[in-house]
């Protein structure tokens, strides 16, 4: 199937060579494990957003007749200590954590690559100013700042919280991107583009960022897990997601104590988190290989 598509592409190439985006897409689609990861991600979203519709319990409902009951037909994944339905709670938590994890990773990586690449590429005062900002944010105890600001942002809800996590999570990545940009800037292809009259932002977009993409993608996949966990830590201290609302993090935190005695209260939430991070990593690896033309050699071209 895929080989047929490739053969066709070669035939029509005479008129219109494929652009980078379509090449990356084609190679991503050829990577089985990446496709599996993407499928799992889609299924998790379906579960998170359609699950509540399938279950007649809401995450706030309390069933006084069933405290700490194991999974049954009435409560699919059992109930917790005060009789709340674990399935309803987990999918509700999953909604939050999926969005928080992915959005924080995307925002912080985007911010890091923008600031890092600009600092590295332009150098001089731009570099100094941006790096001063980075160092400033690094020395601020981010936990404290978030703790102070987040109550004031109650109105913004979890989106404001995503913003806060992203703003404090990009600095180290930016420093690495900056140093990678510094060495890329001296490479001849960047110099060639400059002499050809390609604008600086275009060079950053077309030459610098694709060449640091491997690092950015790996970093973003790690950031997804990290964001979910730091959201948990903040929620534990009473910031971020507040009861009665739940996230995977709060559920795991609550369930840890009863992991051995009432495993369903812990393992469903924990299992979904593991599955989520794993899927993101598979997709990340697939994207990295798709972006890196030399990686394909090793996995074998065209079957």
């Amino acid at each position: 199937m895929t080989t047929a598509v490739v053969a066709d592409a070669d035939a029509v190439v005479e008129n219109r060579p494929a652009g980078r985006a379509s090449v990356v897409l084609r190679h991503f689609l050829r990577n089985r494990s990446a496709l599996a990861g993407a499928a799992v991600l889609v299924l998790l979203f379906v579960l998170a957003f359609c699950g509540p519709l399938a279950c007649h319990w809401s995450y706030t409902d309390i069933d006084y007749t069933a405290l700490r009951r194991g999974p049954s037909a009435r409560h699919w994944w059992g109930t917790n200590g005060i009789g709340q339905d674990v399935f309803a709670q987990t999918v509700r938590g999953l909604q939050k954590s999926l969005l928080i994890g992915l959005l924080v990773a995307v925002f912080s990586t985007a911010l890091a690559s923008l600031v890092g690449a600009c600092a590295g590429y332009f150098g001089g005062w731009t570099d100094r100013a941006l790096m001063f900002l980075v160092d400033l944010l690094l020395v601020f105890p981010s936990f404290l700042v978030i703790a102070i600001i987040s109550p004031r942002l109650k109105a913004g809800g979890w989106i404001a919280f995503v913003g806060l996590l992203a703003v404090f999570g990009w600095m180290i990545t930016a420093r690495v991107v900056r140093s990678m940009t510094l060495s890329l800037k001296e490479r001849e292809f960047v110099r060639a583009a400059r002499f050809m009259g390609v604008g600086p932002f275009r060079i950053i977009w077309r030459h610098v960022l694709p060449n640091v993409a491997s690092f950015l993608i790996i970093d973003a996949t790690i950031a997804v897990g990290g964001a979910v966990m730091s959201e948990t830590a903040l929620s534990y201290f009473g910031f971020g997601v507040q009861p009665p609302d739940v996230s995977l993090g709060t559920l795991i935190a609550d369930g840890t104590g009863s992991a051995v005695t009432y495993p369903w209260m812990f393992f469903f939430a924990a299992g979904l988190l593991v599955l989520f991070v794993l899927a993101v990593n598979l997709v990340g690896d697939g994207l990295r290989d798709a972006f890196d033309p030399t990686a394909r050699r090793r996995t074998g071209r065209r079957g």
Binding site: P17, E188, F195, M196, R202, H207
Partner: protein, 684 residues
Amino acid sequence: MGGEDPVLRVRDLRVAFGGVDAVRGVHLELRRGEVLGLVGESGSGKSTIALAVLGLLPDSATVSGSVRLDGVELRGAGDAALSRLRGNRIAMVFQDPLSAFTPVHRIGDQIAETIRAHRDISRRAARERAVELLDLVGIPEPRARAAAFPHEFSGGMRQRAMIAMAVANEPDVLLADEPTTALDVTIQAQVLDVLRTAQRATGAAMLLVSHDLGVIAGTADRVAVMYAGRIVETAPVHELFAAPRMPYTLGLIGAVPRLDGGTGTGMLVPIPGAPPAPGALPSGCSFAPRCPLADDVCRAAEPPLRKLADDHLVACRKAEELQGAAPADVFPVPEVPRTPAGPDDRPEVLRVTGLVKTFPLLKGVAFKRRVGSVYAVDGIDLRVRCGETLALVGESGSGKTTALFEVLGLSAPEGGSIEVLGQDVAGLTRQQAAALRGRTQIVFQDPMASLDPRMTVAGIIAEPLLARGVARAEAARRVPELLRQVGLEPGHADRFPHEFSGGQRQRIGIARALSVRPDLVVLDEPVSALDVSVQAGVLNLLRRLKAELGLAYLFVSHDLSVVRNIADRVSVVYLGRTVEAGAVREVFERPLHPYTQALLSAVPLPDPGVERRRARVLLAGDPPSPTQRHTGCRFRARCPLHAELAEADRERCVREVPQPVPHADDHVAACHFARPRAVLTAEA
């Protein structure tokens, strides 16, 4: 010396790395006192042979066959046994002298260590011997220099010290693996001279591995030509160059641009295709896919190395047909493009006068302060007319590339003036600069580094078009046409750079430069990273494109043979300053400046007859550091002419900076005592 036993005998040597054959059945004999040149392109397995003889290959290599030193088998001998031989009876001179010395020990001590490892003499005596050896290889003040560390030596001096170390124990066999490839031509001439002296002084047999036919022609007694892991022809040096009997050797000789212009039309005879990748060898003769004479028999089985004459072995079925053939008889010669020999008043596309560029030397971590300057460019003049090729020639560190980047930067220079297409760059507005950018393009030296590895070929070629605001669809439509123009398959447009060979990548770089139909193309050493047989194709392409599109080239190179082939005019720079300029033919045949004369005489000619009888102008020492400001003529410390002058005339060289003075029409030289001297032809 013919009858005696060879000192080193290699029989059926095979080396494979992880199942991929690098060397496939090589026979070599090295007689006492002789120099055997081993020539081949990159990947042909020539360095692997040298390492296999010493038993220095990594454990991942599978080696079979036999290597005998004076009848004693070396292969399979233990490391301890080999260690007694290495540096004692067999010694090696490596390509990169910086990595061949331990940076933390003194040069003299390292040489003494080699002696003491094999001889039972006192530390003091070994040191004395080290000083003697350094003197033998021509290092000035050997006693003082013996106490220096490797980083305090220049590249040429390190290579001399390396040779001193190699001959320290008067070995029977000297293996020199590309000993001069990393050096500038004038230094290469010195080092080759030292190598010959050292080899003669010790009476060692030498295996000289090189890709440079000129070096081989000047130094070797016998030559073995390697292709795809096998020796395809062996003959005495004169016979090999005069009457090669293997199409590959013939092609190689035809593909080398010659400093003396060679014969015929000036178009090189490229060998079609590229050398096969190890592990992807064709069945039958490995050269058959590139050989115009190949027939079905050639493609069926690999021809054995057979005896043609007494000392002439060849691995080709068609050797008899090649009796007296010239390269052009065998390989298709590209047509000579007719360059319209326009009048001299063609418009100038580039005029650079008195260009100056200095870099500050900074010190300090937090607060940088200027402690000096590097005078990278200090008075370069260039003039390129429409449809003309100007070559900018100089050794490394002479400021060629800095001058280029200054021109391409299109901003006001530190000193002097730059005019591109009649516009002075000092007063350009942003729009004007952007418009000029589209009309000057660059091709870089390293075709791998200058192509973004993450972009498809189509994206790379379309980039300058997009930068000029051409619509994406229109840019994509032009890509196949450009690929065809540089001799690549349009169907390969969606591949990535790493899927191409070096020559093909350089063609992609050229296609990218041509996409916006520039007036001036700046070529920064465009063929120096390529093998000879591939280089010829790229040079011919450049000549054809110039004729077809009326391009002007600014061609930067350190390789004077290439310059002779492609350029119309040449400008020679020394330490950031133009010393001589003029028409190529005129400058090469009647060089006026002593530096140009030395440079030309240092380039080895791939013709043993001429090469061994030429006049040589050997330069003493290394180029001085560009961090000093020179009074008077900056070349005088190394100048052979200066040394011969009378006292009063010398005074003038010290006091007065020589200005460029026109001699013949268009021939300019910056020397007070310029006089022509022919250095290309054999002396009568």
